[in-house]
Symmetry: C2
Subunit: 226 residues, 2 copies
């Protein structure tokens, strides 16, 4: 029987988990799992299952749930300016997924890129990151206007800003129920910063280095670990 | 005159800075800098210069130094297991360069990949990261055996380990003169961990998530910011 893997199920119903064509390819064709083998899986909603494979078809398979456990998740949200490079966005999704970010919002902001975001492809990357890190939480990915994203219900609200006229603090650690905004390549406008402040956001800096958008985002995700 | 850029000079002598064919292409052909224009540059040894372009040839150009300042650097070293994917190694070099890591060592360890490392190509990536982040320090990149790397003179020595039998601490912040070892995909062996402990290393964990080698490395680089 192959090693330690986590599979992604589309649907778990009446104690049976159903797997897509892609997962079937990975589990049965590539990894050679067989009828009766024990596997671990999740739908990405915070429950981690173990079960046994009870049916294998050409493009799907079914496992019966043996046991499950609920996995807690920290409520940490990142809102990041849209990037020019889709590769860098993919990479950011992978890393945030591994680091247990709950939700990643791609922001449409004033100085930001207008690139089209392939949410379907990014979701696949998030599924792969979840499987890779044996997590039970699938990171949620959204595209949102700055003005809508800023109206968050989260308790601890931060917005990173490079302008050195504003006092920079280095949080290094984000508590639960936090959201952090990271600007696009051209950074946020002063108007956006003022609007964020009026909504209870704290302006922060990320140190003396000048960081790319996706690097700043991953730094904040690293500071959310616990 | 174009915007804010940092160029990499091979040699600064008698107040004149000399630039390679690649930098000439970037500065003169792409960005259209001209004779008499002010530019910023560094050799990556901790000094940040401003000067004026005084000579332009087809494959080189020369600037005269107007002023310079010394930039302090935190002594933070990462020693990371060799990765299977050269793309992921490139990416790691870029991110560590941006985050101001002083030296990045690729470790030959017992469970590690035996991939050949293209140090020349990685150094070019480090130069690009230095230019991108307007830094005056070029990250040093080395390839080293575990046993040699472990004999470091740095004061604060940490080795990350996934084995849950060992108590895991989360530093979240690394002080000056620190070195952190991150294992390869198969992690360090118990023998390697014991050897590191005998050399004064402290075993640490990086949280409850299971991280790829390069993700763990970037987390530690993020925890070195100040």
């Amino acid at each position: 029987m192959p090693g330690h893997f986590t599979f992604y199920s589309d649907k778990i119903e009446n104690n049976f988990a159903y797997f897509s064509e892609q997962e079937t390819k990975h589990a049965i064709l590539v990894l050679r799992f067989q009828l009766g083998d024990s596997i671990e899986f999740t739908t990405g909603n915070g429950i981690y299952y173990t079960g046994k494979i009870v049916e294998i078809q050409k493009k799907s398979f079914i496992a019966e749930v043996d046991s499950f456990k609920e996995i807690p998740q920290k409520n940490f949200v990142l809102a990041v300016g849209i990037l020019k490079s889709s590769d860098r966005m993919e990479w950011l999704v992978e890393k945030c997924g591994e680091l247990g970010v709950k939700q990643l919002i791609f922001l449409k902001s004033q100085n930001g890129e207008r690139s089209k975001i392939n949410l379907e492809k990014l979701k696949k990357t998030a599924v792969a990151a979840m499987k890779q890190s044996h997590s039970a939480w699938l990171m949620d990915i959204q595209e949102m206007n700055f003005e809508n994203a800023i109206k968050t219900n989260l308790e601890n609200k931060y917005i990173a800003y490079c302008n050195s006229d504003i006092i920079q603090i280095l949080p290094l650690k984000f508590g639960v129920n936090s959201i952090v905004f990271i600007g696009p390549e051209g950074d946020f406008t002063l108007g956006e910063i003022d609007f964020a402040k009026s909504q209870g956001f704290q302006v922060i800096g990320l140190g003396s280095q000048i960081l790319r958008t996706e690097t700043a985002a991953i730094v904040c995700a690293s500071w959310s670990l616990s």
